[in-house]
Amino acid sequence: MMLPAALFLAIFVGWPLVQFVSNSFFDISPIAGGPRTFIGFDNYVAAFQSADFWSAAWHTVVYTVIVVTLEFVIGLAVALLFSALGDSSRFLRTIFLYPLMIAPIVAGLLWKFLLIDNFGIVNELLKRVGILQSTDQIQWLSDPNIALFSVALPDIWLTTSFITLVLFAGLQNVPGDILEAARIDGARYPTLIFRIVIPLLRPVIAVALIVRGIDAARVFDVILIQTNGGPQGSTETMSLLIYRTLVRFGEPGLASAMGTIYLIVMMAVAIFAVFAIWRPGSDAR
């Protein structure tokens, strides 16, 4: 009974993947039916020598770290707030769920609109409360120094809820008597959180961070729609670079080599993360 699903994945994921990887060893004309010449590892050499490749790799790492760190800190804080308030916070938990359902493309455009200079509401509100003098003082999406942070905002907005929900569910399973015992021993709230709750939640935290990390490293929609990789390439991540190399520059071979390297690194990091943080089987699961 696994056969249909296995066949489906083999045909529509496995086979494209094989094609993609094999393309990376060819010099391919972008015209359909054009010539293919086997060139061995030349595409890989070209990829490693390309400055765009290294900067896109760096942007992907920075972006992922920004997204995962902020989501984890905010997500854990909100989950603890929900826990502290107990069942009466149910209604607010529901509201918190909504951004998860919104299309990334919509979120990206929405934040572009919020952050835009002059008529964007974010700078206008910051000006009203006296933080900014004028509404074009912070150019969120057109200043190359901060753009990579700004494009991450819709992603953080969309999926912090996921971390919150997962951690909140995990917090419900923390045995009350352990916390009670620690309180009687005189543990204060921060000690309780950092010494007992977080270590107990480690498997849950690991899964949440790995899932979000993988998604953040694949980011495409929200950046394409906000800055299309600009200004001056400061927000170009790996998915965008591969897309641009493939579609605009018409170099399927080079794009495939970049994608293959990216895939291998992603898998290595994910496997490392699973074993390093999660340690399946070694902890109480």
Binding site: M2, V13, Q19, F119, A255, W278
Partner: protein, 279 residues
């Protein structure tokens, strides 16, 4: 009562204020989009920006709905998402059932492989898919896009369904078999009705994956099968900065999922937390 719940009244009031502030801040972008969609087109880009419309109007909605291709893109989005949900369920339910019931090594390997496919960036499989769908003769159709979207949702669907089947006691099926039902009969008449809540959760996530997809739609559709996210994205290049129409269209596209969330919120929370918490 949870061990982390605080009981002091003053602390509770303070925490409520903090939490409400966070939720308001969190909800603001969407509320502001809704308010903007009800402004006049001129006011959407007025300086300084105002939170509330000075004149409430549906003008943006009229222009969004009468724009060429918008209605057909909505139909395409619905057709694609429904098709993808069906394909995902039809494939995931038997696979997950086999994995949990026969508990073979192959099953465990399969679920791992399915999870690994989650890591593959859409751009990597999307590009070769263009050629595959072309040779199947289904380029630029909702079916092709639905198949592509299913590659995103299928691993998660199998994972979710396996967790739900795991919770069904074996005795239930044994009883059905003693009553003369075949293995398939037991699955169909006993196990599936018991796990209908789980199937609903799985269906929601498959639907959302397809409804919110952008990259596959960008690569695999041209005109005929174009979905609404593509139309929304095109608004910005074709007509400069038509923010009024964009916000109206974005609100319209979000309404179905917001309603879905409202009706099925309990199931959604269950689905989101299930895989992760159980480890």
């Amino acid at each position: 009562m949870n061990g982390l719940e605080t009981r002091r009244v003053s602390t509770r009031i303070l925490l409520w204020i903090v939490l409400i502030a966070i939720v308001v801040l969190y909800g603001f972008p969407f509320i502001y989009m809704l308010l903007t969609s009800l402004k006049t087109p001129v006011e959407t880009i007025a300086v300084p920006a105002q939170v509330f419309p000075s004149l409430w109007t549906l003008e943006n909605y009229v222009s969004a709905l009468t724009r060429d291709g918008v209605l057909s893109s909505f139909i395409n989005s619905v057709v694609t998402a429904v098709l993808s949900t069906l394909i995902s369920l039809v494939l995931a339910v038997p696979a997950a059932y086999a994995i949990t019931r026969y508990r073979t090594r192959l099953g465990r390997v399969f679920i791992l492989v399915a999870l690994v496919t989650r890591m593959v960036p859409a751009i990597v499989v999307g590009a070769p898919m263009i050629g595959i769908f072309h040779s199947l003769g289904i380029s630029d159709t909702s079916l092709a896009l639905a198949i592509a979207d299913t590659t995103i949702s299928l691993p998660l669907s199998i994972w979710l369904m396996a967790s739900f089947f795991e919770a069904v006691p074996d005795e239930l099926e044994e009883a059905a078999k003693i009553d003369g039902a075949s293995r398939l009969g037991a699955l169909w008449r006993v196990v599936i009705p018991v796990t209908s809540g789980g199937i609903a959760v799985t269906a929601i996530f498959a639907f959302l994956a397809s409804w919110n997809d952008f990259l596959f739609a960008l690569l695999l559709t041209a005109v005929r099968a174009q979905t609404t996210p593509i139309v929304i994205a095109n608004l910005q290049t074709q007509f400069g900065l038509d923010w009024g129409t964009m916000t109206a269209l974005a609100v319209l596209y979000s309404i179905p999922v917001i309603l879905l969330t409202f009706v099925l919120q309990r199931h959604i929370v269950a689905g989101l937390t299930l895989g992760a918490v159980k480890g």
